[in-house]
Symmetry: C3
């Protein structure tokens, strides 16, 4: 039950990031709904297909509520992007935080061992956002060397599987992990943390981008 | 049997749209065949994977005929794009019309309930075209705010599932729905219908795009 | 056993191509690891999902070793691209050569008949590279009309299924097919072979691209 709530909440956060991107790209409300659905449901559908289950999103119509809500919030400008505030990044970070936990638990319950469960949790968390950016014809945020994106999700998935294996996982542990992932991701953007580049070397903080 | 014919016909229409896009992007005939296969078979493969079946396209080699035919028609310039005529959009609309019906029926037969079947029908209809545009590095047509794309497919899937549930579905109903979806899509392009933008507001008809 | 080695080796070659592309696009090392994993594991995961198996890559953590190794080799500049040498294309060709064989065998063992097995082998071989290029926001190499890409893989898959059906497949046949596919692909780039364009006509060798 609480898993369903977490999953719907994560779907909602990601869905808002999708609708905000749709607004920035000047898509219409139908495109907004589709992009919100893709980012909100894409990671979980991939996860369920990989572990051989019919995806929840196609079995329970309640999963359509978060994308609908997100589309309405953005179309009515109750949530919107401005030059100074970047709600897209915040909602995306919140989705990331919840999905790395939900994804890992789902994979763990399906019987995958620890490393695979963490890996599938990471895939769930990162997958929807990659699909959002790819279909909107942008380089996925996960590849942006400003800030760290996959590392908080990796840590979140690993902590989830660790606490699950130790029998410590519960509401408190889940909340702590989610807050930890969210704060880490947001801090990394604010403080412009970065890791070395793929081909060696680092970017300088004064590089324009 | 008639389902197989409808499916192959829809595959053919989408495949032609893929080969026409390949021609516009100056890909070669092998790229044309791959793009035609992706758009023609991608939606159905996704649908089958989601409902947990081995995709028809990989079980029945006859599914390779439509992409081969489409590639030949475009390579020999029997079908081609000009500045004034846009066969790509027409073939895409025909594929959309057939696939929202075939996809919904397949999902319904697999035991999904009404809302899920309609949703999966929409996914089948829209999925192949999104894959075509994404791998060709274009913003998917479904996000183009000129004309409506997903709405005709949503209506087609909904009508299909409604007539199926009421026991009214048959050749006549299927043809009527397909024609309705096709005409709606084509009219929306000609008359430049549009729905509100994702971030509120509308585009003006005299905007250049 | 030898299948696992071949699969890991193919994964490694593709993974290096992913990390080299990440370096060229100025992604960071985490992005490099993700892109290496996507290209190395994406084709095989798609293949396993299509035939209804839980993907090996999520069951056996050893599949994470090749992407990790590739990321390290590129980050330490032990493997790197220069203007004159194009290791990306060579590693990609090596991955293509091994994956069209491994993919075909896997599909054949899963009980698909000859044509489907060859088709799925081709999908495995080409799929990872398409995902790599799509998420990095590039037009996939398979669509580049300079050189032939899919044809060597098609021939490799067909030869594999033919020798399997005839009972001639073994280490020697596998090695010969792999070398044949690799050499064909590399020669096609060096000698700038091309096939007719999708819309008819051919490109001229002196076209700039």
């Amino acid at each position: 039950m609480s898993m369903l709530i977490l999953d719907l909440l994560g779907t909602f956060f990601f869905a808002v990031s999708g609708s905000l991107l749709a607004a920035r790209k000047k898509f219409d409300v139908v495109g907004s709904l589709l992009l919100a659905s893709l980012v909100g449901l894409g990671g979980g559908v991939s996860r369920d297909v990989i572990i051989g289950q019919v995806p929840n999103a196609f079995l329970q119509p309640v999963y359509l509520v978060p994308p609908l809500l997100a589309t309405m919030l953005v179309a009515t400008r109750l949530v919107r992007e401005t030059r100074v505030r970047r709600p897209l990044l915040l909602f995306d970070a919140a989705g990331l935080a919840l999905f790395c936990i939900v994804g890992t638990i789902t994979a763990h319950q399906a019987g995958l061992h620890a490393v695979s469960a963490a890996l599938l949790g990471l895939t769930t968390a990162v997958g929807g956002g990659v699909m959002r950016d790819v279909v909107a014809n942008e380089v996925p945020q996960v590849f942006n060397p400003r800030g760290v994106y996959a590392i908080p999700a990796m840590l979140g998935s690993s902590l989830t599987v660790l606490t699950l294996e130790l029998g410590w996982f519960g509401v408190v542990a889940g909340c702590l992990i989610a807050v930890f992932v969210f704060v880490l991701r947001v801090l990394s953007i604010r403080l412009e943390w970065h890791v070395p580049l793929a081909g060696g070397g680092t970017i300088r903080n004064d590089d324009s981008r």
